[in-house]
Amino acid sequence: MSVRVQREDFDLGVELTTLRSGRHEIGALVSFTGLVRELADGAPISGMELEHYPGMTERALRQIEIDAAARWPLQASLIIHRYGPLAPGDQIMMVATASAHRQVAFEAAEFLMDYLKSRAPFWKKEQTGSGGHWVDARTTDEAALQRWAASPASKK
């Protein structure tokens, strides 16, 4: 399990290779990568600034990882999230989960993403032709947490 909050980019392939390296009990590896889209509500964006709360960010991400490991039999997990200025096409963040079976790896990765979206202190400001705009939180993101509250852990 590990968490990294950093300004610099990351190498997705290297991270995934390192995560599973020498771990032959892993049968399923799931990754999610978040990327800067060139459009925000239909308007082209020239860039994005990602602000975060140093200290709390790392604590929050570590707690989310601990919660995932308590619910599912994970052999490894990783969260990397960037901050600072980003351009369209740039990698924003990644999560990866490794388990013996695919359903566990998929569910845990979605859990990490759902909690990260609504519980990790990051804020996006998009630059468009009409200036900078703070991205609104989507109500669907808060709603996404409900499914984890409702269902018990599926330990497979």
Partner: protein, 83 residues
């Protein structure tokens, strides 16, 4: 007691400060918000729409009814938009 206050995203922009230290006897986070609102127009404007504001006490998300006793660091910010 002395408390370090941090503001993020548009709250930081509206208050015009990333952080400030205040001397307060506020019992809850909500009480502290009332005190801050009374400071000046910028603070009042920043805390206008409380539905869009979250609070963390010592880096843990809390309700506004949470007690401030023993807390050293309070942060105010809009709903998070990472990922």
């Amino acid at each position: 007691m002395k408390i370090d206050i941090f503001y993020f995203a548009w709250l930081r922009e509206r208050v015009g400060l990333a952080s400030e230290q205040v001397e307060t006897e506020a019992v809850t986070a909500a009480d502290l918000v009332e005190e801050l609102r009374a400071r000046d127009d910028d603070h009042a404007a920043a805390f206008e729409d409380m539905k869009s504001i979250r609070v963390a006490l010592d880096q843990e998300l809390c309700d506004f009814s949470a007690p401030l006793k023993g807390v050293r660091e309070v942060a105010f910010f809009p709903p998070m938009t990472g990922g």
